[in-house]
Amino acid sequence: MAYSEKVIDHYENPRNVGGFDKNDPTIATGMVGAPACGDVMKLQLKIDANGIIEDAKFKTYGCGSAIASSSLVTEWVKGKSIDEAVLIKNTDIAHELALPPVKIHCSILAEDAIKAAVADYKSKHNQ
């Protein structure tokens, strides 16, 4: 199966790989996994007092599409509020990266990682 140019770009030059201290109150951590392929994704967001995402980092063990999907969302969420970030849909990710149908679950993983991170932030701050 051929990967799209955008997937290859993100796979070869992943943006924002790494992590933050998950115990820091300004850090939100989203952990998700795809049982179908055993991919594991961690997305961390650094959120300021106004609920704006200042920075994002990810670590993904999975295929090129999963890595590209998470790399892309770290770029997309920066500067957005947490309420805007959760509006990012897997279909937007799949469209941007031209993912084939068999790789749609990778974009679902990335969408769910954002939601999981925001849920983690809200539970940390009792919202």
Binding site: M31, V32, G33, P35, G38, V40, Y61
Partner: protein
Amino acid sequence: MNYFELFNINPEFSLDLDLLANTYQRLQQLTHPDKFATASDRDKLLSVQKNAQVNDAYQVLKSPISRAEYMLGLRGLELRHEQQTLQDTQFLMQQMEWREQLEDIDGSANAEDQLAELDDEIAQLIRTQVASLAEQLAINNEQANLACADLIRKLKFMYKLRQEIARKDEQLNDF
């Protein structure tokens, strides 16, 4: 006819793998398209279909995970095409740690030992979880079936990890 019926075995998780393999060989030969070279087009087509079904059935039944998944499917709980993500943070953190640990194993002198140790640890955990899966599958009520689904989803990450360990082992041996 489901795969268990096709192989004429009880629809149980614990099965005799030798018997399964023998039955597979026999059904393979019986349905092989070469046997139908002079048959009617309809029978040729039927043999091709039957032969493919025998192959599919064997692939599904021989591995514990796909067998368990298939059994849940027969009970109306379909996991095979689900795209739902797993969000058990503690479980996933552990998965991530093991993958990081694997990543950190390099070409040093004791790399092989480290790989073997990690692989043993994972294999042991898989054995324990497959044993729980067998117990839960035997209960066969809604709650137990849901517990099976959870075990299967998690086991898939464990199997994937062992594949990654095996792949690393091959890479290290290439040097």
